[in-house]
């Protein structure tokens, strides 16, 4: 009996592998092809945006829609900054500590938040993100609304330095690739299958022995911790942080990355969305003042007319044209055999 390989055969697998190798190679040589420091900055921000978008998608894959994707991004940024600047730790000590602290925080808050996956979670996530921003703004020792400036770049690891944008890019790229690998492994394991199950039908998932609460919590903790690490990198890259940088706007942008790229594409969707949303506004400089309006209109258009996002729309039209092609081939074959 031939086993179905979930739609993919060896040939497409080989093409996939080739595409991945080319993509990674392109990302590695990318900074050498670019002179402008500003473009390099945008690329780094697009990488961070991609990671944040993927954390949104991770929660979405488990049926959780968060309006506060920036919450743990802020937690990670401030935790690491405090550990490095106030406690005098090395970045490389602060990083794992940030992971631990934010994971514990995510576990504690998540245990309360993910009891319900529906509207309750959406609203709680929104409020939580706002409360975090306001709490930081009120905290004098965190610099209040003025934020913290002069955060050092990550310490060099032996001969490897991270002082320049060029070097820092490789640090963030390494983390991005790690997230992609880990997330892909999770999605294709039985954990990912359980996430899909509780998203598509919590009742049916329950009758198959899947504990929806535990799996939601797992997604929440993994997503939040990843966002915290992204925040940590952001703080030490941008070198100054203010509560305003983690406002509700950012959460909306992160959401937009995932929706624009394609909600059902948990890895590639946020990547495409983040790249477009980072670069396109830069080339629409003329309309900088009304950029949020354009963003809002864009979001409306996508949700109303292209609910599958860019990748979803491409896949659907590809399927349709393939079907049309198959039908035509059949017709031609039928007419040929008919003549004979």
């Amino acid at each position: 009996m031939k086993l179905p390989n979930n739609g993919a055969n060896h040939k497409t697998n080989r093409y996939k592998l080739l595409a991945i190798i080319i993509a990674v190679a392109a990302l590695v040589v990318l900074p050498f092809c670019i002179e402008s420091g500003y473009i390099k900055h945008l690329i780094i921000m697009a990488c961070i945006g991609t990671i944040l978008g993927m954390t949104f998608s991770m929660l979405y894959s488990a049926g959780l829609i968060t309006l506060g994707a920036a919450a743990f991004y802020a937690v990670g940024a401030y935790t690491s900054t405090v550990l490095v600047m106030y406690a005098g730790l090395s970045f490389w000590v602060a990083l794992p500590l940030t992971v631990m602290i934010s994971a514990i925080m995510a576990l504690g808050f998540g245990a309360l938040f993910v009891r319900n996956a529906g509207v309750a979670f959406v609203i709680i996530s929104l409020i939580f993100a706002q409360v975090i921003v306001i709490a930081i703004g009120q905290a004098e020792f965190l610099g209040g609304w003025g934020g913290i400036i002069g955060i050092p770049r990550p310490d060099s690891l032996g001969p490897v330095e991270f002082a320049t944008k060029h070097d820092f890019y490789y640090l963030i790229l390494a983390f991005l690739l790690l997230v992609v690998v880990v997330y892909t492994a999770l999605y294709s394991s039985r954990i990912g299958r359980a996430w899909r199950a509780i998203k598509l039908s919590p009742n049916l998932a329950g009758t198959l022995g899947i504990n929806a609460y535990r799996y939601r919590l797992l997604a929440y903790v993994i997503g939040s911790t990843t966002a915290a690490v992204a925040g940590c990198f952001y703080a030490h890259y941008f070198q100054n942080i203010t509560p305003g940088a983690f406002s509700g706007w950012l959460s909306i942008y992160v959401q937009l990355y995932a929706v624009l790229g394609g909600l059902e594409f948990y890895i590639l969707g946020p990547a495409i969305g983040a790249v477009i949303m980072t670069f396109v506004p830069e080339y629409l400089r003329v309309v900088k003042e009304i950029e949020p309006i354009i963003t809002g209109i864009l979001l409306l258009i996508i949700i109303l007319f292209f609910p599958g996002g860019i990748l979803g729309t491409i896949r659907n039209s590809a399927n349709v044209s393939f079907e049309g092609f198959d039908a035509r081939v059949k017709k031609i074959k039928a007419s040929l055999t008919g003549k004979r």
Binding site: G7, R190, R196
Partner: protein, 254 residues
């Protein structure tokens, strides 16, 4: 051997008594029918057994353990599978993936090995794929394995729901109206499937309005009316019972 004991189960919704003091046994491996007019409490009892509700009074004992009050997934893990009255599938997944999701509690390799995709986990994945195909073959769904569950006709969706439940390897299978809305030939085929499921050692508790299906399929029948157990016994006895006829048709007819 008694697999499931229902003892004095009472359930009250607001002021409405949905079930009052209901008791009966389900033996292994039998096909037990649960019938009664609309509002008799059949679905409520199903929801209590599978953990979507808990009984206000009484005991549900499955394999000698009290399960009343446990979560849905805990009860499922202890070996009770169910299908729902309304189509409940992973609609946006393929038929094959739907069945695969049913294996959740049936992996022996630890989950971290599955994430790292070790050779043991790979082997297990292959055996599970084979098993999924066997189940699809058994439920006559093999030709539809790549289709989206949402695109299947009603009869095949019912079959898929049972296929998913079979993948979870239950000892007791609760079927809520498995042949309702099917045409006579589909009904016949489904009855045959349910018989064969029982032959594999799975006990079946079934709620159904199609009386002909119920009478030909069940070893025993429990009749509920307005939340109270009227009578229990073999189909021949139930057919003749005046209380049952009265419950269904009203007093005047009798």
């Amino acid at each position: 051997m008694v697999l499931l004991k229902i003892r004095n189960v009472t359930k009250i919704f607001g002021g409405l008594i949905a079930l009052r003091d209901v008791s009966f046994d389900v033996n292994k491996p039998e096909i037990l029918g649960l019938i009664g007019p609309n509002g008799a409490g059949k679905s409520t009892l199903f929801n209590i057994i599978s953990g979507f509700h808990s009984a206000d009074k009484g005991k549900i004992i499955f394999k000698d353990e009290e399960i009343n009050g446990l979560r849905v997934d805990q009860i499922a893990s202890s070996g009770i599978g169910r299908i729902f009255q309304e189509p409940t599938l992973f609609m946006q997944e393929s038929v094959f993936e739907n069945v695969f999701s049913g294996f959740h509690r049936r992996y022996r390799e630890p989950v971290w090995k599955a994430v790292f995709y070790t050779s043991g986990a790979r082997e297990e994945e292959v055996t599970k794929k084979k098993r999924a195909l066997e189940i699809l073959e058994f439920m006559d769904l093999i030709s539809a394995r790549d289709e989206l569950a949402a695109n299947l006709p009603h009869g095949r969706q019912r079959a898929l729901a049972i296929a998913i439940a079979l993948a979870s390897e239950p000892d007791l299978l609760l079927l809520d109206e498995p042949v309702t809305g099917m045409n006579p030939s589909e009904t016949m085929a489904m009855i045959e499937k349910i018989r064969r499921i029982r032959e594999t050692g799975i006990t079946v508790l079934i709620v159904e309005h199609d009386m002909r299906a119920i009478m030909s399929l069940c070893d025993r029948i429990v009749v509920l009316s307005l939340g109270i157990k009227l009578v229990e016994g073999p189909p021949d006895k139930i057919k003749e019972d005046e209380r049952v006829i009265e419950a269904y048709l009203g007093k005047q007819v009798v």
